[in-house]
């Protein structure tokens, strides 16, 4: 049976632990990765869009898709987040123009805002590789290679998912999987105003200083240039072909 054969090959490829080597394609044709590059999308709208795409991906109505966008300033509270972890009052947040959204993802309180490149890959991992750890490493690797292209030396920190420069976090990850279809993804600080992070993290904990490409390089970066590198690396690592690119300023 053809499919059974395919899965054997997959299995052998995935026997390399911790590797982020893309799988050998079992068919001659590369599957595409469609990219939507959007401007500012409010968090809830983006979440609804993701959910719609996830359902479509499950039904195989769309190809693997990457959403690239920015959020207006927003603090998202994961399911386990406690209100007291917000350091600022609702009034202060309102004055700073920050929305607070309760998200159904797991995890902590986090901040998204202008200058931060958000990537939401909607991928069917069952067709790529059924391995969440591998997937996390792929996202990290794509960001590390992108950083390198931009002149930033970024690394992994063992035990702490995300991408780090000099032990400050430049990109964070949060992934949701439903029947091997991924949603949520990564947030990469390009030109983010880092002072926003003060509203949430008990910043003092030196474990989690944040940084941005801008801070590392001393100059702001053009998002579209970063996107080009990122899409290329991500598609390459996932064994996908760059598909259609949709640019929409919403």
């Amino acid at each position: 049976m053809h499919s059974a054969e395919g899965s054997t090959i997959r299995h052998q490829a995935s026997a390399v632990p911790q590797s982020w080597i893309p799988l050998p394609q079992t068919s001659d044709e590369l599957r595409p990765l469609d990219v939507f590059s959007l401007d500012f999308v409010p968090y809830n709208d983006a979440w609804n869009l993701q959910r719609m795409l996830v359902e479509k991906r499950k039904r195989n109505e769309i190809a693997d898709t990457l959403l690239l966008l920015e959020h207006p300033p927003v603090i998202t509270m994961g399911r386990n987040a406690k209100p007291e972890n917000l350091l600022s009052t609702p009034l202060e947040l309102q004055q700073a123009g920050i929305e607070v959204v309760e998200s159904d993802r797991g995890g902590d309180v986090t901040f998204h805002g202008p200058g931060q490149l958000i990537g939401y890959p909607i991928l069917d991992l069952s067709k790529i590789r059924r391995d969440v750890v591998w997937y996390v490493r792929v996202l990290e690797e794509a960001i590390i290679r992108t950083a390198q292209d931009c002149g930033v030396r970024a690394v992994r920190v063992p035990g702490c998912p995300g991408v780090w420069v000099n032990n400050a976090k430049v990109a964070s990850l949060g992934i949701h999987i439903s029947r091997w279809v991924t949603s949520h993804g990564f947030a990469l600080n390009l030109n983010t105003d880092l002072n926003f992070f003060c509203h949430i993290i008990p910043c003092g904990i030196a474990s989690c200083p944040v940084t941005s490409f801008q801070q590392c390089l001393g100059k702001p970066l053009d998002r579209s240039v970063v996107e080009q590198h990122l899409v290329q690396h991500l598609a390459g690592l996932l064994g996908l072909e760059k598909g259609e690119l949709w640019q929409r300023m919403s």
Binding site: V132, R153, I177, R179, I201, G204, A206
Partner: protein
Amino acid sequence: MAADVLMPQMGESVAEGTITRWLKKEGEAVSKDEPLFEISTEKVDAEIPSPIAGVLGKILVKEGQTVAVHTVVAQIEAVGSLGSLGSVGSAETPQKSASKAPESATAGTERTEGTDKSKAGASAEKESSELLRASPLVRRMAEEHGIDLSLVEGTGTGGRITKEDFMAYLERQGSATAPKAAPPKPVPAPTPAKTGERDESVPMTIMRKRIAEHMVMSRRTSAHVTTVFQVDLSRVAEIYRKEKAGFENQEGVKLTYTPFFIRALIDSLKRFPILNSSVNGDQIVYHKDIHMGIAVALEGGLIVPVVHHVDEKNFLGLVRTIHELAARARQKKLTVDDVQGGTFTITNPGVYGGLFATPIINQPQVGILGVGTIYKAPVVIQDAIAIRTVVHLALSFDHRVVDGAVADQFMASVKKYLEGWEESLWA
């Protein structure tokens, strides 16, 4: 018959998973492929669908617990399932079982107490029709192994159960739920502590989680070695006693011992620049500026504000900055800049009388000085015993880049600076 729900393996190198949320309660009906529970591994949350339709029986692994992959986490009762017939009288052919479908419907109606359950019964009936979606070969194999085919997911055309499906199911069952054949895989070492009735389980605050992550990350990152020096602090203590009141009256800030230690550290960090470095990948980054982190205890945690360019401040400026940072730390008013960029850290574990502690390095730094309690002790000086004010200073250093001899020379330099204190506090 109950089907076991297993902790799925979410990847080649994934050995365990944490259940974050049950989406169904015990006794609640669930249809096939409906999300049943959520797990998390690394930074990934995954929704796990129910393998079959039925009623969620016992939940064996509670929310928050971490177990090895393939561990049974719950059981699902396939309501009115033909499986019970199949396992009781395994001599019966599957065809016969299938023909008893009406009987299973009766079993379903017997359970009409709750609407949920009758619904589940209905979906279980739907399941039973899948029995017919198997080749004679697969049915014969099912009979031989005493397997209920309604529990096997079919991936063939129209959901047909292929031989591969059956073998895969058998393999899973064999490794996870056949204790007679093979004992269940032991759960790896750190099993979660049992929570008794009188125990209280409190989720960690974000600050606590970050501290926890950082401490473990640091331990994993650096090769920690701690060297301890006893320092005769009599001279400093005398100055401290003399100047304390005047300092507070004239300058309005409380004098502590901390700035004395920091001045000594600055002098020695300049002499031994490797202690003021960081490791970045395979590079050693020597920091030209000295930014001193000062650990401050908070209720429920700690925070490390940083005095930037600490070497450019005089003694009074240092005292003022420390005072101001500590106050803002306690009021949670620190900014990002206040806590970033430290190149060395000083901490004060001696407040409650501890002689010394072995502090954990504040990454990505390579050294941290722990100041023990300051007390009077008999000390031998030139073969005479004297009562002196002493302190134990413990330096934890990263042995990846700092050699033991260098660390001890550094500490000898700190000791010398303090024991022979010459600086004016008012300069």
